[in-house]
């Protein structure tokens, strides 16, 4: 292959002083800076770029933009491997290594393309008919082969080492599309005083103007407006950036590709997703040219007429020298003229009987052969097109060719405008869909509104830019834009009727949907466009059917004898172009996946050998490595130490809320099921909150610091919910209560000293503190200062042992933790983790998250007595609903394992002895622990009240491990039922 043998000696928007080396399927080639991968491949004479999805047909390059259905490649290796990238959108970069897809063993010789063998299995509806009915089992047998045969590229399986970023941005006016309409809109909006973001997926601005000669009027217009835009510091030009979705609130999702100017810079993101919040949006997304449907219309060498012109004028590539241009409208003639001027032998086959005489005359002048009322009915050639069968008024004839330029008309790019529900509207004069009525903050201009002439696009863009800025209150006077008239003629066009004599005629190239598939769908009753789509997979490729949707509609309309608008249009959803999941995640992966909360003693725990556990967002010590070889050994040792000596636990994660105000006591009386108004100053009380529906919401302790001030704690998990709920009640239900509630969770380092020796340790740590039972009784409070920080000690127990919760200002947390450990050393004080904490509370029969699961009531949990005869608190009325009082409701019981060497498991389902272990059973085990006190496993369970008789047996079944174990129903308080350990 000659190096760049299809490149013209001059012209184009490529930088010939910067050659760029790349490879395709391992073969080294060269292009220039300013090339796309597609243009560089064409310059090197590559016509065969990929194999099709189902039939493995040879495919070339159809388009020059994001609508490309055929030329999909894979870039990169290992973790950087990214499949299904349209070569037409890839800015050529030094060392770029592209691979073709869906071929085996090689692109040129693909085993499965010797088909006819496979084809019958892959017609529309094949999957449904074969695998969804009674023969469903067959899927298991064939899946492997089918997946291997039909498919696109393969993603990498290793972690991607590259960086991705998500960014937030703001603008008054966002303009999607940097063609003549978008540029004109940007200029107008900026001049009116608006802050503008102009979004262009290409690495050059200009849109269709880039298909014009690089030294003509279009080029000077472009240069001028680009310079003008750069003179505004309020305009952000976002090139290499695709708008993939438009979302509520005028938020546009953008994905930006790194430029290929040099090697990646340190820390530079390969892709950046920007969430752009705009006050108004101008859509100037242009239009996509339609292919034509005839037999073998997918042969490499078939190209959209506008794309062929782009390759010629922008990239100085002449992909063919014997060119047939076939069209239903005027625009494609410009391709014919430019190719003729570049030295190609050109024939125009126009389906219309009488194209404009000016075009015909010009063709005659420059030696372009014109055949009117003529269409292509078949193409010949395998890996590259070699000839065409033309059918015209005088019958059929053969013509040799190496490039076929097709133009079946244009489809305005209405995808993005549809994302927020603006329904496309059919415009008869252009035989295409344009957006329906926009809301007040969105505008459209140019080809996407069906206004194809450049002069109209510039004018429409200008108007849209002025209006969009005015919507944002920016209405400085704006001068008229410079005019650009390319002398396009826009006359009526003819709907092409698909013809499919001979071979396959493709409607959707990427999904390999042919006219026969559409006919089949029609025959079998899948006429509605949404059915057609699902039945044939039309439009479901990575290209979202950008080139195929209208062709399919038009084919179905013809079959039904209906018009296109009667046949319908499909709903477009984000993303407009594929977006890598990694780009959407941005930097939020690995340790940045979510923010972690660390307690003030975090570093000490790590230094002291803690194995940490994520609990919600918090990092908490799970167990300490010196306590045992693994968590099971460690937690039992830590429990024993608490029961026999003392343990130190970091409880800083508890939700802490400051409640103040003249009505604070009244407020707490309403939000807690048990009363707080009579709680004496200096005392703490355990409290339970219900939801409005009478189900238990959360529990915790609240201490009365002063007549009008309380210190509330909540569970770690519900801290945020409780705060929000309290604020809700004050803002919406009882605004007359003068109460201020403030989260102080982060203010305090909190630690609990628990165990028989806790009092002695407290005395040793705070020598001046009176720790006697009289001065600091169970539920008592001490407040003072320690090392310049506020100190609160509340005598509260979770473990069932005598215990003190010590709160100190967060900045002094580490210091106090160390002080306690040191003071406690003679008393065997050791830190313990959440595994032991959970086990201790199970032994004591305290309920926690597994029991307060959003389904249980106070009575279910054995807490009904706390309420007594109170009323008028949140949840009181609905907790009395008859169903919540039914005798067979599941309620809290204790279980002890009565089989030697066996254990209980959380989640096990409970049955009566002799009962068939089937269904939901009579209840379930919620929490378990090995009890050093009892010497066997104990657990808490929710068990139907009518069978929950203490002393009787149940069978706990754990199907996940095929375990069945007998257990005895006992009191949930396994330890010290009289509470003697707490009070003394």
């Amino acid at each position: 292959m000659n190096a760049q043998n299809k490149r013209l000696p001059g012209g184009g928007r490529i930088d010939r002083s910067y050659p760029v080396e790349f490879s395709f399927d391992g073969q080294k080639m060269a292009g220039y800076r300013g090339d796309t991968l597609a243009s560089a491949l064409l310059a090197n004479g590559v016509t065969l770029v990929g194999r099709s999805f189902k039939y493995h047909r040879p495919r070339g390059i159809l388009s020059a933009g994001p609508e490309e259905p055929n030329a999909l490649v894979t870039l990169g290796t290992a973790g950087r491997r990214e499949p299904n990238l349209p070569a037409t959108t890839l800015e050529l970069g030094e060392g770029m290594a592209a691979e073709s897809q869906n071929r085996w063993p090689s692109l040129a010789f693909d085993v499965q393309s010797v088909n006819g063998l496979f084809a019958p299995f892959l017609s529309a509806g094949f999957y449904y008919k074969t695998f969804m009915g009674p023969t469903r089992r067959a899927w298991k047998v064939y899946e492997h082969f089918i997946r291997k045969a039909a498919g696109l590229g393969r993603a990498g399986t290793e972690p991607d080492p590259d960086r991705y970023e998500v960014r937030h941005a703001f603008a008054d006016v966002a303009i999607v599309g940097g063609g003549p309409a978008g540029l004109s809109a940007a200029r107008a909006a900026a001049a009116a005083g608006a802050r503008v973001a102009l979004i262009e997926q290409d690495f050059l601005l200009g849109g269709q103007l880039l298909a014009e000669r690089s030294d003509g009027a279009a080029a000077s217009w472009l240069n001028q407006i680009e310079a003008e835009l750069k003179s505004f510091d309020t305009v952000t030009l976002m090139k290499r950036t695709s708008a993939f979705g438009v979302y509520d609130g005028n938020v546009i999702g953008l994905v930006e590709q790194r430029d290929q100017v040099g090697p990646p810079r340190t820390g530079e993101a390969r892709q950046t997703v920007t969430l752009l919040r705009a006050r108004s949006i101008v859509f100037a997304t242009g239009a996509i040219e339609r292919p034509m449907v005839f037999a073998n219309n997918d042969r490499p060498g078939v190209m959209l007429a506008s794309a062929a012109r782009t390759y010629l004028n922008r990239f100085a590539v002449l992909p063919g020298r014997k060119v047939i241009v076939t069209a239903v409208n005027d625009g494609a003639w410009r391709t014919a003229f430019d190719y003729a001027a570049a030295g190609a032998e050109v024939t125009v086959a126009d389906l219309r009987a009488a194209p404009p005489t000016a075009l015909v005359a010009e063709a005659a002048r420059i030696g372009v052969t014109v055949r009117t009322a003529t269409r292509i009915v078949d193409l010949h050639g395998g890996r590259a097109v070699r000839g065409a069968t033309l059918a015209g008024p005088y019958g059929q004839s053969e013509a040799a060719c190496d490039l076929v330029c097709v133009s079946g008309g244009w489809s305005p790019t209405v995808h993005l405008t549809s994302h927020l529900g603006v329904k496309p509207r059919y415009r008869e004069d252009i035989d295409g869909f344009v957006p329906g009525a926009f809301p007040a903050d969105r505008f459209g201009a140019g080809a996407m509104m069906g206004n194809y002439a450049t002069a109209d696009a510039i004018e429409g863009g200008h108007r849209a830019g002025v209006e969009a800025a005015s919507f944002c209150g920016k209405s400085a006077p704006v001068s008229a834009p410079s005019k650009l008239d390319l002398g396009e003629t826009i006359t009526t066009m003819l709907r092409e009727i698909p013809s499919a004599q001979g071979g396959k005629a493709f409607v959707d190239f990427q999904m390999d949907v042919t006219t026969k598939d559409v006919e089949l769908a029609h025959r079998e009753g899948y006429e509605a466009v949404e059915h057609l789509k699902r039945y044939t997979t039309l439009g479901m490729g990575t290209d979202q059917g950008k080139t195929s949707n209208f062709l399919a509609l038009s084919a179905m309309a013809a079959l039904r004898g209906a018009t296109v608008p009667e046949t319908g249009t499909t709903t477009f959803r984000p993303p407009f172009t594929p977006v890598a999941i990694g780009a959407l995640a941005g930097r939020a992966t690995g340790h940045h996946f979510k923010p972690f909360r660390r307690t003030p003693m975090h570093d000490l725990h790590l230094a002291n050998g803690a194995d940490m556990l994520e609990v919600g967002l918090w990092m908490r010590p799970w167990f300490y490595k010196q306590s045992g070889a693994d968590v099971n050994e460690a937690y039992v040792a830590e429990m024993r130490n608490v029961r026999q000596a003392a343990g130190l636990m970091d409880i800083s994660t508890l939700g802490k809320i400051d409640v103040q105000g003249p009505d604070a006591a009244t407020f707490l009386d309403r939000v807690y099921a048990n009363g707080f108004a009579k709680l004496p100053v200096g005392r703490a009380r355990y409290g339970v909150m219900l939801r409005d529906d009478g189900i238990v919401f959360d529990d915790g302790t609240t201490t009365r610091l002063a007549e009008n001030r309380f210190f509330m704690t909540t569970s770690t998990a519900k801290a945020a919910d409780v705060l929000s709920r309290l604020e809700f009640l004050l803002d919406t239900a009882w605004p007359e209560l003068r109460v201020a509630i403030t989260s102080v969770s982060d203010e305090w380092a909190a630690m609990s000293v628990a165990g028989p020796k806790s009092r002695a340790i407290l005395g040793a740590a705070f020598p001046s503190l009176d720790v006697s039972n009289e001065a600091l009784p169970h539920m008592g409070l001490h407040e003072s200062q320690w090392e310049g920080c506020a100190l609160r000690i509340v005598r509260l127990s979770y473990s069932g042992e005598r215990a003190y919760e010590i709160y100190v200002g967060a900045t002094a947390g580490e210091q106090l933790w160390s002080r306690l450990l040191e003071a406690g050393r003679p008393f065997d004080l050791k830190p313990y983790g959440v595994e032991a904490l959970g086990a201790l509370r199970v032994e004591k029969g305290h309920v926690a998250g597994p029991e307060i699961d959003g389904r249980t009531t106070l009575d279910d949990l054995g807490l009904g007595r706390m309420v007594g005869k109170r009323s008028s608190f949140v949840g009181d009325v609905l907790r009395r609903r008859p169903a919540l009082l039914a005798p067979d409701r599941q309620r809290l019981v204790g279980l002890e394992c009565i089989e030697d060497g066996k254990r209980l498991r959380g989640g096990a389902i409970l049955f009566l002895p002799g009962e068939k272990a089937h269904g939901h059973g009579r209840g379930r085990i919620t929490s378990v622990t090995f009890s050093p006190e009892r010497g066997h496993y104990v657990g808490l369970a929710l068990l139907a009240g009518d069978v929950a008789t203490e002393g009787s047996e149940v069978v706990a079944v754990y199907p996940m491990k095929a375990e069945t174990v007998r257990a005895r129903i006992v009191s949930p308080v396994f330890l010290d039922p009289q509470g003697e350990r707490l009070h003394g």
Partner: protein, 163 residues
Amino acid sequence: MASPDFSLSVADCPLIQVEGWDGMLGQFESSLSAALGTKLPASVGETVRHKNFVIIRVAPRRLWLALDDGTQGSSLAIDPDLGCSVCLGEGRMRFSLAGADIASILSTCIAVDWHAPTTAPGRAVQTSFHHVPVLLIRTSETSCDLVAPRSFARSLQDWLADG
């Protein structure tokens, strides 16, 4: 980004929160204003700098007094019939960010328009940084403070350092 023009320092952030009761706000504010010897920010997002603290209105009836680093936080005596105060002297950290690239770095952290009037120097904005509530105090064209909960501070600092 290679060697961005950006610096970050982290310090404790003593705060005092005061809140007036609904229905008593006028009296509460005049009494507070007299006690502090300065006017109060009129609306949420405004700040008033006075002596060694900044007063920020964080909610219609709630103000924060952010004390300069090194100042001892304490509570403020408020007439209990007018409102209350709570010392938030320990629970937050203050990130001081500065440099020409600050806007670009912050754009990967918070969804706040650096160029909007509501973010102008002297303004304060409460928003979400990686799902964490933070208070941004714009100190100049190219600098700001972020006040963040202490428990989240290291995660947010790591995120900023990676920016």
